[in-house]
């Protein structure tokens, strides 16, 4: 039995890597101007360098693919953790309100500091770094708020967690809206694009800032993924097996908050990846989380690279935010899951 599952797992992983490569290939060769495969390979391998190709590949397309991949991995893993510990198959990183919290913080940043930063003529790296930093702080504040409301007598209640998540979500959403309505038209536009979830302004610094978070938390979550198998039992049985339920859930939840914050701070609010990827993964490799976790991560990466490619090309030359593309795919999938779970 075990042999069969693990060979299915390796085959699935292989297919997903191929899918990611295909999506990346599409992404890197298409765009405002198309390049041939040979051009791309020559440029990547430094066989022939052409400053125009260099610029497009290394400064625009490659970082964008890398960011899409990293964000997809982070959201895919966080989704597995959240669905696992809440035992709710419809849970999504969005329910934690982290997206909304980060969004509000970034809007706040744009509202108060953007102008100042530009006029002070600060290092441009600085302002690039400031936005995700604010996003990260906002996400963490939202998470802390949700925790403190969901904790009761030192007990983390999953029902309360989801409900407070929804409340915090709409609270921060309202705050963002209120602030953005008071902005200048130009600021409003950039805030709206950021909130819709976009990675078109991706660069290597973003990738580097989120990489350590993703690496450390991703490995941690993967190592702990076996626990999620046990968390599918009800709490009394888990306790009986000698698992410190509260402590382990808290640690996993914090890790996924970190993952989501790192993603959101770079890409803005991208929903549904964290919902879809784990579901598709479970369809492919079953319910053992040590298989589901890496598969979901790769599905997240593949989906996001593909969605970004679609967003980039479908209405070219104007861009559709990747978050919107994901939602267009994600909403029907979500409804399908709802209908299926009713039956």
């Amino acid at each position: 039995m075990h042999k069969k599952t693990s060979s299915v797992f390796f085959l699935t992983m292989l297919m997903l890597v191929l899918m990611i490569l295909v999506a990346s290939y599409l992404h890197i060769t298409n765009g405002v101007f198309d390049m041939s495969v040979m051009d791309v390979i020559k440029t990547l391998l430094r066989i022939e360098s052409n400053s125009k190709f260099d610029l497009v590949i290394f400064e625009f397309r490659l970082p964008r693919i890398v960011i899409a991949g990293l964000v997809g991995i982070g959201l895919g893993m966080a989704g597995v953790v959240l669905q696992g510990i809440t035992r709710n198959g419809l849970a999504d990183p969005g329910i934690l309100g982290i997206n909304a919290g980060a969004g509000a913080a970034v809007v706040l940043f744009m509202y108060f500091f953007q102008v100042k930063l530009v006029s002070a003529d600060m290092n441009s790296w600085m302002s690039i770094l400031m936005m995700p930093l604010f996003g990260f702080i906002g996400g963490t504040i939202a998470a802390i708020l949700i925790f403190s409301f969901a904790l009761k007598n030192g007990h983390l209640d999953m029902q309360r967690l989801i409900l407070t998540g929804i409340a915090i979500n709409s609270g921060f959403g309202a705050l963002s809206l209120f602030l953005s309505l008071k902005m200048s038209a130009q600021d409003f536009e950039s805030a709206a694009i950021w909130m819709a979830g976009s990675i078109y302004n991706a660069n290597w610094i973003f990738a580097l800032t989120m990489l350590p978070w993703l690496l450390i938390l991703g490995i941690y979550v993967h190592r702990k993924s076996y626990l999620l198998d046990y968390f599918q039992l009800e709490e009394d049985s888990i306790t009986s097996l000698g698992i410190a339920v509260e402590k382990e859930k808290m640690k996993l939840l914090l890790a996924s908050v970190g993952l989501v914050s790192a993603c959101v701070s770079v890409s803005g609010s991208i929903g549904f990846i964290g919902l879809m990827a784990p579901h598709i993964a479970k369809q492919l490799v079953g319910i053992q989380h040590r298989y589901v976790m890496p598969v979901s991560a790769l599905i997240g990466a593949g989906l996001l690279i593909l969605a970004d490619f679609i967003g980039k090309t479908v209405f070219a030359p104007s861009e559709l935010a990747v978050g919107i593309v994901v939602s267009i795919i994600g909403i029907p999938y979500f409804l399908y899951l709802l209908v299926k779970s009713k039956a």
Binding site: M1, L233, E234, S237, T239, S240, L241, G242, I243
Partner: protein, 265 residues
Amino acid sequence: MQTAFRMENLASGYEQVRVFEGLNLTIEEGKVTTIIGPNGCGKSTLLKTIGRILKKQQGTVYLQEQNMQNLSTKDIAKKLAILSQTPIAPGQLKVEELIAYGRYPHRNNVNRLTNKDEEMIEWALTVTNTMEYRNRELAQLSGGQRQRVWLAMALAQETNILLLDEPTTYLDMAHQLEVLDIVKSLNEHHSCTVVMVLHDINHAARYSDHLIAMRKGTIMQTGTPQEILSAEVMRKVFNIDARIMEDPVTNTPVCYGYEILKEDI
């Protein structure tokens, strides 16, 4: 005689509600002890508290003369297993996989089962008569089969003490006895200490060495089935006028009929 559990001045309950307090009780090792009492008397609460599923509010519980507070939850899991009243698992989970979960407290490498693990799983499958559907998914099992599988998971935990919270609920008469027979044989052949909560006093009398009768959070009486299944104790505990005789086959007392007493409303 060694004690499996000793409770001193124990209090427990849910959030603001105190279910019992000031409870002192000893449960002997190697015996089958059953807690009986009317709905809401605190029997399940007591079982959950000594099984550390529910946090006690006051007092001390000694597990084999060790203060449970000083034991890690994993160490406790090597000494006692609990089968909760309404266990839940995903329907796609295979019988064997669920039973393997029971090995958790003994496992160091979480991804590979050792020979000892496999051995214990085989044993649990044999004892509970679940061998033939080891590869089936839980969703495909009947209620009686599923209950035996859950019991097998608790057995795979390889503990000397087994706590069972109404293990026969929702089962038909034949399957109820099937589960209780397994429990009895575990106690007799594997010197397993069993503490359980049962609704059916006749089952309790037939399968237990000791009974604990509770009402409204206090222990009314403890003793052998013969001592507890008496008209007087039944009146005190359940508020019924019970007609009791001895079952000529099992030689245990049975309540074959009863009337509700009106006085105590």
